[in-house]
């Protein structure tokens, strides 16, 4: 995996909103064929990161490169044509259109859109909906869908664009525990079809289960970058995000090999600054 070429790279990526620094010099590489998890507490800059990478927002400074080409100040639609797709954490369905029409818009205008007629876009949309298991709801109006289905619709719209890189902004949030393994299988299958994934997620079971590598953001800074098993033991990550429960768990694990009665719990909640 680590020998694969870099497909997406950010260099010193910084974004200010007035006095707020949402991203502070983030260096991140995504390799082709990888599943990269991005975690961090609320307000860490995860959604801003996706917005800036996909061109919905532009960085204050720093660069985004896609296959070696600098794309930082290109409009979102052009990045979509290059093969970058994303889902929205706050779902953005086209409410007055049907599920099929929603997805067809992605098939019409995404990376493969130019070569398709309107009718072919609808065929493609139907295929994608079957793949995500929504074939029975194709002709429903988007406003009739439940949260879980709206999440799946977000995914279907992005998939219909034939992306090379798919950035998922909390597609599992709001799903109940039975739906999570299904969603994980779906993401694995999408990945197996040749799509590089960047997964922003709070559901730790999913991130740990899916990711080849995990990056942790905190107050707009990257505080950790490594394999999942390293990340869960990183004291900085435990302090900033995972909290006492994961901290305890690693302590318990340590206790089996070592002895010390470590870290007072009060320090656990203080993020390093």
């Amino acid at each position: 995996m680590s020998s694969n070429p870099t497909i997406l790279e950010t260099i010193n990526l910084t974004k200010h909103f007035g006095g707020v620094t949402a991203l502070n010099g983030v260096d991140l590489t995504l390799r082709e064929g990888e599943i990269l998890g991005v975690i961090g507490p609320n307000g860490a800059g995860k959604t801003t990161f996706i917005n800036v990478v996909t061109g919905l927002d532009h960085p204050t400074s720093g660069q985004v490169k896609f296959r070696g080409e600098t794309i930082s100040h290109q409009p979102a639609y052009r990045l979509a044509h290059l093969g970058l797709a994303r889902t929205f954490q706050v779902m953005k369905p086209f409410r007055h259109l049907t599920v099929l029409e929603n997805v067809a818009v992605g098939a019409m205008f995404g990376a493969g859109g130019d070569k398709r007629s309107t009718g072919e876009a609808f065929d493609r949309a139907a295929e994608v909906l079957t793949r995500v298991g929504m074939q029975e709801k194709m002709n429903w109006s988007a406003q009739q869908l439940t949260i879980a289905d709206l999440k799946r619709l977000e995914l279907a719209k992005a998939l219909a664009m034939e992306p090379k890189v798919l950035l998922l902004d909390e597609v599992m949030a709001g799903l109940h525990s039975g739906e999570i393994p299904i969603a994980m299988d779906l993401l694995r299958e999408i990945h197996a079809s040749g799509v590089t994934l960047l997964v922003v997620e709070h559901v730790m079971k999913a991130v740990l289960g899916l990711s080849d590598r995990i990056v942790v953001l905190h107050f707009g800074k990257k505080i950790a970058d490594g394999a999942p098993n390293e990340i869960v033991q990183d004291p900085k990550v435990i302090a900033a995000y995972l909290g006492a429960r994961y901290g305890k768990k690693t302590d318990d694990q340590r206790r089996t090999t070592e002895v010390p009665e470590s870290s007072p719990p009060s320090s656990v909640h203080h993020p390093p600054s």
Partner: protein
């Protein structure tokens, strides 16, 4: 994998197509059988307001941008025709076409900066443009005749009213065909996506600035054509008479009445609105505005998506799919 929804409403569609074609044929025969010039002029205004509504429907109905610049294009269209006919001595039709092209170009120039704004900000900015353009036209005495306006050459054609009638009808049919085809084209889906959620539309690969500007240019084209024809019909124009806010407000009301973002909505809306307002004007002179206002409030409360959808709602007659243009008939 078959993704195209079955065309279960085929029969309903055929009925609507048939009725539309019949109505257009009737409109062509009507002037030769009309009992008086009054009816020809009444229908001339039905068509004119249908065109103004079709124009607004592109930017307001399909894209969801509440533009108050209809009056700008109407006034500019009227002045371009008037200036070309009085100062350059061109014939009516070349002047008319120049009006449409000029307004489409004007819309494409002011479109990109204006359409960056959203919601109220966009609406207020278009109001600002409308005022600025009116002031410029009123102040440019040498070209526009200033506050006194311009007098167009009087037509010697005995069938003058029929000429204007057919001009307005022709522009309306062009508007109908353009809407019909674009609504089925990718661009129509792009517009609806922009209206429903612009950020999602951008992320899905839609060049939103370009799409919105095309819609705005089409608005300019149709409304400019109507303005040019109106100037010739009226023979005298002043800044106050053609930059009248009714050319912004009435088309918006007509679109809401008929069905926003639909192919036939503007025409149906204009038919109901103009005929009703003409009737009320004779029955209750001075009060027609009050009745119309009350009627529109009731429409907005009880049928917010227009008369068409209310009467032909998918669940009742199953015809909405046709009228709600982009939902059906994808080739």
């Amino acid at each position: 994998m078959r993704g195209r929804p079955e065309r279960v409403e085929k029969r309903g569609e055929k009925i609507i197509y048939g009725l539309t074609i019949l109505a257009i044929l009737a409109a062509f025969i009507f002037p030769f059988t009309a009992p008086s010039g009054f009816w020809i002029r009444t229908f001339t205004f039905v068509f004119m307001f249908a065109v103004l509504a079709q124009g607004w429907n592109f930017i307001g109905g399909y894209n969801g941008y509440a533009s108050f610049d209809n009056v700008t294009f109407f006034g500019l269209g009227a002045y371009v025709t008037a200036i070309l006919m009085t100062r350059a001595h061109l014939d009516f039709f070349p002047s008319l076409i120049a009006s449409g092209i000029f307004c489409a170009l004007f819309a494409s120039v002011i479109g990109p900066p204006l359409l960056r704004l959203k919601g109220h900000y966009f609406a207020v900015a278009t109001l600002g443009v409308a005022n600025a353009v009116q002031q410029i036209v009123a102040g440019w005495d040498a070209l526009t005749g200033g506050g006194l306006g311009l007098n167009l050459p009087l037509s010697t054609d005995p069938n003058f009213y029929q000429l204007i009638y057919f001009t307005m009808l022709g522009v309306m049919i062009v508007g109908l065909l353009v809407t019909f085809f674009l609504a089925r084209h990718k661009i129509g889906f792009g517009w609806i996506a922009i209206r429903e959620n612009e950020d999602a539309a951008r992320a899905l690969g839609i060049n939103t600035t370009l799409f919105k500007t095309i819609a705005f240019a089409l608005t300019g084209l149709l409304v400019g054509l109507a303005g040019g024809a109106y100037a010739y019909y009226n023979t005298a124009i002043t800044p106050e008479s053609v930059f009248d806010i009714v050319y912004t407000v009435n088309p918006i009301l007509i679109v809401i009445l008929g069905g926003s973002g639909t192919v036939l909505g503007p025409i149906i809306g204009a038919l109901i609105f103009q005929i009703l307002s003409t009737y009320l004007q004779f029955q209750f002179p001075g009060l027609q505005g009050t009745f119309l206002g009350i009627g529109l409030i009731l429409v907005i409360i009880f049928m917010p998506r227009g008369v068409l959808e209310y009467l032909t709602g998918r669940r009742v007659f199953g015809l909405t799919s046709l009228l709600q243009a982009p939902r059906e008939n994808r080739a």
